[in-house]
């Protein structure tokens, strides 16, 4: 059989193959990815779309959790100062129920309680990032304003609604407590109780029992506030554990992404070496091939 004399094409094809392998291996090593375009592995590329979507979601949930957590912490520490102030008001009430006090002493106590009421009003109107934290969802204006016709002279302008935020796929948490559950719950209104205590202390005809019952009313409002406040602690706990879950999900997702589209660097490096060796071998073979023409051997004899 006659051998095909056109070896150039064979060499070119071989070089083409090894060049392509070299290029692929190089690209994989520089990008760290086995899939650099959809057609490299269509199934893996399609899978990565879903993984990227989940990773984005994880990152966003974590950002949201960070934002919510700092708002909840701010609210909680403000409520803590309100709780301390109320405790002080209660002890002022207990002190006022002592029959040995002069009216002047009771007036002084009343002034102190009024101050505390103002302080708590400040807490109840706390604003964070441009919205009022204890206004329910009607949070564009201060929830508590002076109004002589309202209980304790303070009117609640907010509503009873809460917002929920999704913190993981299918998991949402309530992120606010309306003032109506904290400060102005019906039957346990902090401002009403403080105002009643002030009225009792200022009234020269008030009996110690009357002052005592005003103090008891205040205790009821205090209990409501402290029990409603536990929402913040437990929500922050919930956020922290969601954060842990999300962080480990994120790690899992990046591992999954790496498995799907990432490259094993050892394999890529080996491929690169193999391709380079194949290329060198081809080039050397081609160089030898060119020396082997009969034409070259004939030249000296014909000129001789």
């Amino acid at each position: 059989m006659r051998i095909s004399p056109e070896l150039t094409q064979v060499v070119l094809n071989a070089l083409n193959v090894s060049d392509q392998a070299e290029q692929t291996a190089l690209q994989q090593m520089t990008t760290g990815r086995r899939v650099n375009q959809d057609s490299d592995d269509p199934a893996a590329a399609a899978q990565e779309v879903g993984i990227a979507f989940q990773m984005d979601s994880c990152d966003q949930y974590l950002r949201s959790i960070g934002g919510i957590e700092s708002e909840l912490q701010t609210a909680d520490s403000s409520l803590n100062s309100a709780v301390t102030a109320l405790q002080q008001a209660i002890s002022l009430g207990v002190e006022g129920a002592n029959g040995t006090l002069s009216q002047q002493n009771r007036d002084t106590l009343a002034a102190e309680v009024t101050g505390i009421s103002q302080q708590i009003l400040g807490v109840a109107n706390l604003s964070y990032n441009g919205h009022y934290v204890f206004a329910g969802t009607a949070d564009s204006q201060p929830p508590y304003v002076a109004n002589p016709n309202s209980p304790g002279g303070i009117e609640y302008q907010g509503n009873d609604n809460t917002n929920s935020v999704e913190i993981n796929s299918g998991q949402s948490v309530v992120v606010n407590q309306p003032g109506s559950a904290l400060f102005s719950a019906s039957g346990a209104n902090v401002f009403q109780a403080l105002s009643d205590l002030v009225t009792a202390l200022q009234d020269p005809n008030a009996t110690t029992d009357e002052i005592g019952s005003a103090t008891t009313e205040l205790r009821g409002a205090f209990d409501q506030l402290t029990s409603a406040r536990t929402f913040y602690g437990s929500t922050i706990d919930q956020l922290n554990s969601a954060q842990d879950v999300l962080n480990s999900e994120n790690v899992q997702l990046s591992q999954q992404q790496n498995n799907v589209v990432g490259v094993d660097l050892n394999v890529a490096a080996t491929n690169l070496t193999n391709a380079e060796e194949a290329r060198n071998a081809t080039v050397q073979a081609a160089a030898t091939m060119n020396d082997l023409s009969l034409m070259d051997y004939l030249t000296p004899t014909t000129t001789a």
Binding site: E48, F53, T137, N163
Partner: protein, 457 residues
């Protein structure tokens, strides 16, 4: 004739024959890089012997003709494989442009759909914040323009392929004309009994070229040749070329008509034109339909959810996107308003409510297009585009390997070998020298004879 003069004639015939061989070899070497060239060999024959008494003497050599070495079967196989190769290659080239429109990670439609839903979650923790509301509108706008870009580029790619197809039809017509013209020359030359192998070489090269563009069937008988498409539309019948024509169809692209006026657009499957048409008429329209379906499904679901809510001023929500349906949906996707306070994030009419964000976010997990969620529908597009190219590339490689093998086989029959020609040259040269030597020997002998006469007189 015999005697010294006879010998002289034999030697002269030898000189001529070796010269013919030398010329053929030289011609082979000269054409070593000519595409389509088939190597030639001189056909030498013994001349009729001469009878002298009881003795039979050879009467030298004569050149019968020049043979061109080719395999018609291999030519046909190569033409077939070239059609497949051309088709897959042009399809892959077309789809490679499309592939960049559907990336799988950090950019494009998928990433922008994701970013839009993330912006909703971001807003949910502070729903009255105008900059976060603006963030949602911006993300919605980015998503819309990603759809617009992809849709417009698909349209542009299709238009480009349409132009390509038209140019390829022109090329087909040009080559058909050249082949028909060659057929006329071939018929002329062969009728005068001359050697026409170089015309066959040229014709075969042109048929290969044509096979790269369109699927061709050939029937040849001696110098006569009929070329049609695989489905039978005539391209060349002997000296007559039949031009294909193009005309815009109702679907906005050029349709291809046979010389008889039949629409053969859907029949062309091979050659680069076949691949171009496959991308232009099947794959890209299919992707456009899916993209439109995803865009309109997404817009519809988001608008429905948006209308359930209330905006910053307590008014009920309107459309978040301009309503779109059907063909061209993705290209015209646009956010319906620019005022961030109109975003209906709330559910109770207050500015601080985020109650409707859950409805909007839920769209991410709703079946919006062919039973798939937005993310799944996009990932399906990525899969389809990727698969079309990886399958096409596999075909290119397979037919490429096949073609290489066939070309090797063809070259082992028709290719010019320098080594072979070198040794032939040597042979012819030596034989020429030897014949020349014989002539000079006869010359000396004749001189001897002539001198003999001079002495006797």
């Amino acid at each position: 004739m015999s005697g010294l003069y006879g010998t002289l004639w034999i030697a002269l015939g030898g000189l001529e024959a070796q010269q013919a061989g030398l010329q053929t070899s030289t011609n082979n070497v000269a054409n070593i890089n000519t595409p389509g060239y088939s190597r030639e060999v001189p056909v030498l024959e013994e001349a009729n012997p001469i009878l002298q008494g009881n003795l039979v003497f050879g009467d030298g050599v004569q050149v019968e003709g020049i043979d061109s070495l080719r395999s018609d079967l291999l030519d046909l196989q190569i033409a077939d494989e070239t059609q497949q190769q051309g088709s897959s290659q042009s399809y892959v080239n077309a789809m490679n442009q499309v592939q960049t429109l559907f990336p799988d990670d950090t950019s494009g439609i998928g990433a922008d759909i994701s970013a839009f839903f993330q912006s909703l979650n971001e807003l949910s923790s502070n729903p009255s914040d105008l900059s976060l509301r603006q963030g949602v509108l911006t993300a919605a706008g980015n998503m819309a323009s990603s759809f617009n870009d992809a849709a417009n580029q698909l349209t542009q790619t299709r238009q480009q392929l349409d132009l390509d197809a038209e140019q390829q039809v022109q090329q087909i017509n040009q080559i058909s004309q050249q082949i028909a013209a060659l057929n006329v020359q071939l018929a002329d030359v062969s009728s005068t009994g001359q050697d026409y192998s170089s015309f066959l070489d040229q014709r075969s090269a042109l048929i290969q070229q044509l096979s790269g563009i369109i699927d061709v069937s050939q029937v040849s008988d001696g110098t006569s040749l009929t070329l049609t498409t695989k489905q039978g539309a005539a391209l060349v019948v002997d000296g007559q070329a039949y031009a294909l024509t193009t005309a815009a169809g109702s679907d906005g692209v050029q349709h291809i008509y046979s010389a008889q006026g039949n629409d053969i657009t859907g029949q062309i499957s091979g050659g680069s034109l076949g691949g171009t048409l496959q991308a232009r008429d099947q794959t890209i329209p299919d992707l456009q339909t899916q993209l439109d379906s995803l865009a309109s499904g997404l817009v519809q679901a988001l608008n429905t959810a948006h209308q359930e809510g209330t905006d910053l001023n307590g008014n009920p929500g309107g459309n978040l996107f301009q309503p779109i349906t059907g063909t061209g949906a993705a290209a015209s996707m646009a956010v319906a308003f620019t005022d961030p306070s109109l975003l209906a994030a709330g559910s109770d009419g207050t500015s601080g409510s985020n109650g409707n964000i859950a409805n909007l976010s839920a769209v991410a997990n709703q079946a919006v297009s062919n039973g798939m969620t937005p993310s799944d529908a996009y990932s399906n597009l990525v899969f389809q585009v990727g698969t079309s190219i990886s399958n096409g590339t596999a075909e290119v490689n397979a037919s490429g390997a096949m073609l290489q093998q066939l070309q090797q086989q063809q070259s082992s029959v028709s290719g010019v070998s320098l080594d072979e020609e070198a040794s032939n040259l040597l042979l012819y040269q030596r034989a020429y020298q030897a014949s020349a030597e014989a002539i000079s020997a006869v010359n000396q002998m004749l001189e001897t004879v002539i001198n003999m006469g001079a002495q006797s007189s």
